[in-house]
Amino acid sequence: MKTIIEAQGLTKVYKGGILAVDNVSFAVNEGEIFGFLGPNGAGKSTTIALLTTLLSPTKGTATINGIDITKHAYQARLELGFVSQDLAVEDVLTGYDNLRLQAGFYHLTRTEVHDRIAEVLKMVDLTARAKDKVETYSGGMRKRLDIACGLIHRPRILFLDEPTLGLDIQTRREIWKYVNTLREKNKMTIFLTTHYMDEADSLCDRIAIIDRGVIKTLDTPSALKEAIKHEVPNPTLDDVFLHYTGKEMREDFTSKEESFKARNNIRRARR
């Protein structure tokens, strides 16, 4: 199996000395759904920001499809799609225009733009609503549009940062369906973070659990459960998670921005 993401000693120290990611190394295989789990402030978002070139590592590096993210950030960006947890679509624009904009950012040529937009709209079943403004979309439709934006340049790897945050169970299932299709039909590698253990369990081929900037364990969901059987009879992934990250609540966010986002997400989920 080919390795498509390889992190080597990835380290990020924020201003003020907060160590968010501490010498993290792992490899993601081509075509797998790789789950990245951890409590709030564990370093998940920072790791994604490093891999997607939004932040530069303090130490270490990573390769995306063989391209070094610190030396060739521009090329690395072409290989990856990034769908953040923020639901960053433009409400006042139509779905089509949101995708048009994204196609522009990825320098798609005028001739391929139309077909490509039609292609990604079909992938997320939004063709019929493409000409409507996003403010008329439901939460699930927005998320699908956001995912479509991340697919416009046919990336090899899609980063999904908590793709089902704040969505109801029906919509979450629907999103899983699309994620699975992407992997099966398009042979795409998916790097996913989530707080829902059932989601990770049913979607992911392998799971890494990170806490306080360090990867605690990395294996298939069944192997992870198997490993703690001697402690908990019939363990679920919840038990695995608690086993590796402890039971206390986390309120030590690494940055103001992150704590703002966490609060905002909680608010959004309640809506």
Partner: protein, 262 residues
């Protein structure tokens, strides 16, 4: 650096801002209503005070509206531009900034595209002010060509204010603080300039400040064009100064922005 890609990136950032601007009906209405209120209310009430020979001499024209129209254009540019940086703070909060940064676009394209859109919006607002002013009987001495020049200067000034705001927004990450700082900047800039009152009517110390205020350069050049004519030895130095300030501020905005996202 690939210039073609850079221009394409700038274009798409610009496209996004303009498209959003045009979708916001209430915002478009304000663009029309605000200058209308200024010109009709302020212009008319002040005309009563200025309808005497001494005032006319200070204003350089018999009609306060003639005097004030360039001032209103710059004031609108100032208010429009100075909040331009808020879009960056907003993009940062909504996550759209990260979405753009994860794409293979030049970092400099983000402030440049936003500044271009601020420049165009300012010119559009200035055009609306010209149209309203024409209805109110304001006379533009240099005709259509002069009006085009007025729009261009207003756009340039909008970019300067937008650049200041973008520079601030690279450091100030909270919306409230940026608003407070922007407000703090606009009032003194406005009232220590010749936009509303002729410098001849000011006490010496205020006059000295007004002469150094970039708002005054812009207004002076515009007012000369619209009420006096093409008096180049008056217009050119002011334009050169404005242009120099613009280059410096745009460079600063790009530098601070690029630093803030790295």
């Amino acid at each position: 650096m690939n210039v073609k890609l850079l221009l394409s990136d700038i274009y798409w950032v610009f496209w996004r801002e303009i498209k959003k601007f045009l979708q916001q009906k209430a915002r478009l209405m304000m663009v029309v209503i605000q200058p209308l209120i200024w010109l009709v209310l302020m212009g008319n009430s002040m005309s009563g005070l200025t309808r005497n020979p001494q005032a006319a001499q200070m204003l350089g024209t018999g009609n306060y509206l003639d005097f004030m129209t360039p001032g209103i254009m710059i004031m609108t540019a100032l208010f429009g531009g100075v909040f331009g940086g808020i879009t960056i703070v907003w993009d940062r909060r909504t996550g759209y900034l990260n979405k753009m940064l994860a794409a293979p676009i030049y970092r400099a394209a983000i402030p440049l595209g936003k500044l271009l859109s601020i420049g165009l919006q300012t010119m559009l607002q200035a055009l609306i002010i010209v149209i309203i002013a024409l209805f109110l009987g304001v006379h533009f001495k240099t005709g259509i060509l002069g009006i085009v020049a007025l729009l261009a200067i207003a756009g340039l000034f909008g970019i300067i204010m937008g650049g200041i705001s973008l520079s601030l927004s690279s450091r100030i990450k909270s919306m409230e603080t940026l608003m407070a700082v922007s407000n703090f900047l606009t009032m003194p800039l406005m009232f220590t300039s010749n936009a509303m009152f002729p410098t001849n009517a000011m006490p010496g110390w205020l006059k000295a400040i007004a002469m150094g205020n970039p708002v005054s350069y812009a207004v002076h050049a515009m007012r000369t064009i619209s009420t006096q004519g093409w008096i180049w030895h008056d217009i050119l130095p002011a334009l050169a100064a404005l242009f120099g300030i613009m280059i410096l501020i745009v460079a600063l905005a790009i530098r601070l922005f690029s630093k803030s996202v790295n």
